[in-house]
Symmetry: C2
Subunit: 305 residues, 2 copies
DNA sequence: GACCTTCCATGCCTGAAACGTATGGACGCG
DNA sequence: CGCGTCCATACGTTTCAGGCATGGAAGGTC
C-alpha cells in the first residue's frame, strides 16, 4: 500500500532506459539492488511492470499505465519540498547562495557585501555544495540562487553567465612540472593521473578533464573525490593532479601544493542561476546585484541557454 | 529528498487530529514511533510542521502549505495502485469477490455459481479478508466487488443491502449456557468475555458486541483476534464467547463448539459493494446477479447509505 | 554447434532505520 | 501541590535496502 518515492524514481529510470544495468548506473545503485526494488514494487501493485526477455526489457501494459502516476508523484513531492524550503528561508529572512569551491571568486564576495548593505535585514547564507551540486540544490530548494559552473544541467533554472576564470592546475609541491615551468600546456599533463568525481555528470567531468585532449587521446584517471578539500588532499599527497580555477589558486594555498596556469584550454564560465517559477524579490535583487557588478567589470551578460 | 507515503499518511493523520496520541491510535503505531517519523519528515523538508506547546498541537505555516501535497500524493498513489490491480485482474479474466468469514452465506454461493454459468470465460475468485477488511480491499483494488458487513465505512463505494442474517453466539461445548438453553438473550452474556478485534473500527466492534447493552452496561472484553479462525480457536479453548451469524453456525461446526441463536439483538445487514469510478461490465453483472437473487428470495433491495 | 558476452536474478552478509517498551519532562487541572 | 495528560528521548530488536559474488538464460560469433 505504501511506496517510497525512491522506488518510484527507480521505476521511472528503468522505464526510461529499458535497462536495469544502465538505470542502476544512473541512479548510483548496484544492479541487483535495483532489480530487487523493482520486484518489490511489482509485488506490491500485484502486476509485472516489465517483461525481461533475455537481453531485452520492455514495459507491460500495467507498467505503461502506472508510469505517469509515478512521474507525477515524484515531481509533485519534489516541488512541494522545494516550496516549503524556500518559504521557510524567506520566513527566516535568509538568502541562501549556493556555490562550488570558490564559486564566482571575488565577484561572489563583492556581490554578497553589496547585497547585505542594500538589504540590512537579510542574512546572506553562502552554501557550499559538492561538485555539480549547485544546480540540483536550486531544484531541490536548498538554495535560492547559485553560482553555477558550466557546463551544467540548467533544466528548470534561469541562468546568466556573469564571469569567466582561467583554469590552473594544482600539483604536489614536489612535482617535476612545478619546478620546470611557470605555466603549463594541457599536453604537459598527458600522463598525469587526473582527479574525477561521480557526483557530477559525465559531461561535467569530461569538460574539466579536457576529454578528449587536442590530440584525441583520453586523460589518465586518478582517484575520485566529492569536493575541493578532498581533491586537494589527494593532490598534496602526490596521488594525482587536478584542474581548478584561478581563484582556487589564490584561495587554497597550501605549503605542499603548487598552482600553475594552463595556457591552452578554454576558461570556466560561471553563471548566476535561480529556479523557474515564482521567486521572491530578494532573489531578483541578488541576481541584479551580481549582473550589475559583472557588467561594471566588463564581464559578459548573456541570456539563459 | 525521498519520502514514503507511509510517512505522508502519518503526517496527514496528525494534522487531522492535531494530536500525536490519537493519530498514533488511528494508525496502529506507537506514539513514540509516530513522533520520530514526523521529526524525520520535518528534518527532511527543513521546517517545523507542527508547534508542540505542552498539551496543544497545531500546524505551522509550513505545515499548512505542505498538507495539500501530502494528501494529493497519498491519494494519487492509492488510486494508481487500485487501477493497476483492477486492470490486471481484468486482463487475467478474474472477478475477485471480497468477503469476511461466511460473506453473504448461501446467497454468496448461489451468486457465484449463477455468475459463473452466465460468464463461462471468467474465473470468480473468492477473497477472504480479516474483520472489516472487505471495504478497504475494494478501495485498494484488492477486490472488484465484496459482501460488506454493516456497519462499515462505505466512503468511495457503492453499496446495496442484499441480505440480513440473525446473530448467533458461539460457546465452548462445555459452557454452562450451552447445556441450559436452546436460545439465549444478550443479557445472558453480560459477564462473558467477548472477542474483539483491532482490525475494524470501534463502531464495528461496538455494534457486534452490542455496546452499550440494553441496560446501559458495557461488555466484558476478552481476547483480540483478526479473523474467524482465530476467533473460534479462542472460543473453543474456553477463553471467550463470540457473536456470529447464522451461516457461521452452519459453516463452522466443530466438536468443541456450540452455537446458540441470540433472540433479542438486531440482525446483521449484508451489502454487495463496489468502488466508485469506472467499473468493468463484470462488476455490474455480478452486482445485478446478486441483487436479482436477493429479490427472488424476498431480501430487501436498498439504496446506498 | 560450442563458446562467449551480456544482462537480469538469487544468495549471503552488513549497516541503517523503523518499531515497541520503558521512561523522562513539560503543561494544565483540581 | 500532587496528578493526569501528552510529546520527546533512550535502548534493544527486527526488518530491509545495499553491496559483492555468483547463477542462469538469451543472443551473437567463429
Amino acid at each position: 500500500m505504501d511506496v517510497d518515492t525512491r522506488v518510484l524514481r527507480y521505476y521511472v529510470a528503468v522505464a526510461e532506459h529499458l535497462s536495469f544495468t544502465r538505470a542502476a548506473q544512473e541512479l548510483f545503485v548496484s544492479q541487483p539492488s535495483l532489480s530487487r526494488q523493482i520486484q518489490r514494487l511489482e509485488n506490491e501493485v500485484g502486476a509485472a511492470l516489465f517483461v525481461r526477455t533475455g537481453r531485452r526489457v520492455r514495459l507491460t501494459a500495467a507498467g505503461e499505465s502506472l508510469l505517469p502516476a509515478a512521474r507525477r508523484i515524484v515531481d509533485d513531492w519534489r516541488q512541494a519540498v522545494r516550496e516549503v524550503r524556500t518559504a521557510e528561508a524567506a520566513r527566516r529572512k535568509l538568502l541562501r547562495i549556493g556555490f562550488v569551491a570558490t564559486g564566482a571568486g571575488p565577484l561572489g564576495r563583492r556581490a554578497r557585501t553589496a547585497f547585505t548593505s542594500a538589504h540590512p535585514g537579510i542574512t546572506v547564507e553562502p552554501k557550499r555544495f559538492d561538485w555539480g551540486g549547485e544546480a540540483d540544490a536550486l531544484r531541490q530548494g536548498l538554495a535560492d540562487a547559485a553560482f553555477v559552473w558550466l557546463p551544467a544541467d540548467l533544466s528548470g533554472l534561469h541562468a546568466r553567465v556573469v564571469a569567466t576564470e582561467a583554469r590552473w592546475v594544482a600539483l604536489a609541491a614536489t612535482h617535476p612540472l612545478a619546478a620546470a615551468r611557470d605555466t603549463v600546456s594541457i599536453m604537459d599533463l598527458r600522463d598525469e593521473p587526473l582527479m574525477w568525481t561521480r557526483k557530477a555528470p559525465q559531461e561535467w567531468v569530461d569538460w574539466w578533464a579536457v576529454n578528449p585532449r587536442p590530440d584525441g587521446s583520453a586523460p589518465r584517471w586518478g582517484p575520485e573525490n566529492d569536493n575541493v578539500e578532498e581533491m586537494l588532499e589527494h593532490v598534496a599527497a602526490g596521488n594525482a593532479v587536478c584542474l581548478g580555477t584561478e581563484s582556487m589558486a589564490g584561495y587554497y594555498t597550501h605549503p605542499e601544493l603548487t598552482w600553475r596556469r594552463v595556457t591552452d584550454i578554454e576558461p570556466l564560465r560561471i553563471a548566476v542561476a535561480w529556479p523557474h517559477g515564482r521567486t521572491g524579490p530578494l532573489v531578483r535583487a541578488f541576481v541584479d546585484t551580481v549582473t550589475g557588478l559583472a557588467a561594471d567589470h566588463g564581464e559578459p551578460r548573456v541570456s539563459p541557454a
